[in-house]
Amino acid sequence: MNLHEYQARDILRRHGIPVPPGDVATTPAEARALAEKLGGKVVVKAQVHAGGRGKAGGVKLAKTAAEAEANAKAILGMKIKGLTVQKILIAPAAEIASESYVGIIVDRASQRAVVMVSPAGGIDIEEVAATTPEKIHRLAVDPRYGLLAHQALGLGFKLYGDVKQARAAADIMQKLYGAFYAVGASLAEINPLVTTPDGSVQALDAKISIDDNELERRPDIAALRDTSAEAPEEVAARDAGLTFIKLEGNVGCCVNGAGLAMATMDLVKYYGGAPANFLDIGGSSNPQKVVSALRIITSDPNVKAILFNVFAGITRADDVANGIVQATTEFALKVPMVIRLIGTNEAIAVDILKKAGFSALTDMDDAVKQAVAKATGKAA
């Protein structure tokens, strides 16, 4: 789950990291009031989960409160990469002497949280990694001891020659590491970390992503989710305990297990079709999950055929069969459905489907070929 910049700034502030003042607004009037409170020049920034906000016109400077209100009016409601801006951040326009980068991610190779710093801040770190990788310094942190003072200071000196600034940056890194574990982050970035003309070090912009697996035990963080910034069908799927990602094709896929779901999508393409979605009904699925899955798939007008591919293991085939039958009693499917279902409790499942007038295939290739044919209107 991605947090907005203003939410990430709040988290940093609560962990003692110096963040310039500023607050979020949802109307031009609120923006004006905040700008008046801050006084002086302010920056109005769109709060959407997309990079390149500045280039898209979602970040504007304002010399007066009236100008801030006008900017807010222009930015609120604008679309950036398909996402409508509903919130803006009003912050003082800082005088900047230098920009650097500090970030923490979980590294798969070292199996640890890795702190990354770069004196080339203010731009996308992936761009820095691609063009000037020597400007990025990394340190894998031993989780038993956390980020130690001398390690943080060593990284601080990679950013600043001045010992005071290096110490300030080191302190920020240690606090960011603390915040990383405290909120269950998978990514925490300060970009840019700036120095001001008077020499102080501050976090100007922040980005935090939370590991979705942390949300159940952190209701305060889960409450930060902004569902208005997400596709409605993906929100519905998550509420139903499903993983759903919408794609552009016309074969609606309903599969158990992420790997098989991807392989099914790939096979749809192999046979000349295009998958309409990724959908994993997960393990231990109950019939209700299958009903929800079918409801979500059939709500997409692009879907011309539905393909079930279930290889039952921890998911029981009879649960899936019951779900399919239950769904068809609750709403009309409107498009043809091809069911492939084998594994745990397969015989019971086939029986349930047969009684309701459905048949089930056992071969994955056969099922995909039939579904593609039905979606494209050609013979299999």
């Binding site: 979980v106 798969r108 190779a109 199996q111 640890r112 949280a113 992936e126 031993d142 989780p143 038993r144 990383f180 574990y181 269950g184 982050a185 998978s186 590991d211 979705d212 697996n213 942390e214 159940e216 035990r217 993983t243 990602i245 794609l247 599969v255 158990n256 297990g257 992420a258 790997g259 098989l260 779901a261 991807m262 392989a263 999508m265 790939d266 096979l267 749809v268 393409k269 192999y270 998958p275 990724f278 994993d280 997960g282 393990g283 231990s284 279930v310 290889f311 039952a312 293991g313 921890i314 998911t315 084998i342 594994g343 745990t344 994955m364 290739d365």
Partner: protein, 289 residues
């Protein structure tokens, strides 16, 4: 022969009285796995299915039953704790089926397991099976056949699909290992490839990867340098869009890294025969054996 588990495997099931734990404990017993103990705190002293003693702690289970392997079916919020407990109790092989473990829990659990000399398989994995000998986890025993092909996979149900293809065409398996779809896992492709290379009865290896990370690329390098046995590979996620987590926490293309194309190229460079679809596994094995 087989890798990691065989007739000497003495299994303790952590979470044996839960919905999934009890269902799969019965399946494992029916398959012939030596399920010697179960653990559910507060239910110590009971017997599962009138046969398997249940203990409050893993330490007690190990002391009383000489269990050497554990399988974890407890909820995600307490799964890391179950891994710590198993490692602390002298269990040598820990298989964590539970999905949804916070990644930061794994940054702490992995060094803990490693320092105690134990091996963790998973989390978020289907476990493993050495057909005809032992099964630990949730892979349906009915689809497997004893034989000479070693299977290692990041996926669950996709692994079943491949095993099903192998078995129905007469290719039995020495062992099938599901290593899990999370970004941080205890046992990776290279660990399994090394074990299959050392297993005299494994004649060929099937490796099933997916988008995200660089484990497959590193495994391909390892195959090129160290593995003399034929290897057939598959990568799932050719149609996956970048930047989206495809169910598995580890299955995400970040920027331009971790794509299926990149992994397939690494496989081909290492001399691994690459399947275009799961049904290609048998024809490719035929070519290589």
């Amino acid at each position: 022969m087989s890798i990691f588990i065989d007739e000497s495997t003495r299994l303790v099931v952590q979470g044996i009285t839960g919905r999934d734990g009890s269902f799969h404990a019965k399946q494992m017993m029916a398959y012939g796995t030596k399920v010697v103990a179960g653990v559910t705190p507060g239910k110590g002293g009971q017997r599962f299915e009138d046969a398997v003693p249940v203990f409050n702690t893993v330490a007690e289970a190990v002391l009383e039953t000489k269990a050497n392997t554990s399988v974890i079916y407890v909820p995600a919020a307490v799964a890391a704790s179950a891994i710590f407990e198993a490692a602390d109790s002298g269990i040598e092989l820990i298989i964590c089926i539970t999905e949804g473990l916070p990644v930061l829990d794994m940054t702490r659990a992995l060094p803990y397991v490693h320092e105690r000399g134990a091996r963790l398989i998973g989390p978020n994995c289907p476990g493993l099976i050495s057909p005809g000998k032992s099964k630990v986890g949730i892979i349906p025993g009915s689809i497997c056949k004893p034989g000479k092909i070693g299977v290692v996979s990041r996926s669950g149900t996709l692994t079943y699909e491949i095993i099903h293809q192998l078995s129905t065409h007469g290719y039995g398996q020495s062992s099938c290992v599901g290593i899990g779809g999370d970004p941080l896992i205890g046992t990776n492709f290279i660990h399994c490839l090394a074990a299959f290379a050392d297993d005299p009865e494994t004649t060929a290896i099937v490796m099933i990867g997916e988008i995200g990370g660089t484990d497959e690329q590193q495994a391909a390098e390892y195959v090129k340098d160290k593995i003399k046995k034929p290897v057939v590979g598959f990568i799932a996620g050719q149609t996956a869009p970048p930047g989206r987590r495809m169910g598995h926490a580890g299955a995400i293309i970040s920027g331009s890294s971790g794509t299926a194309a990149e992994k397939i190229a690494a496989f081909q460079k290492a001399g691994i025969s690459v399947m275009k679809r799961p049904a290609d596994v048998v024809p490719l094995l035929k070519e290589r054996l």
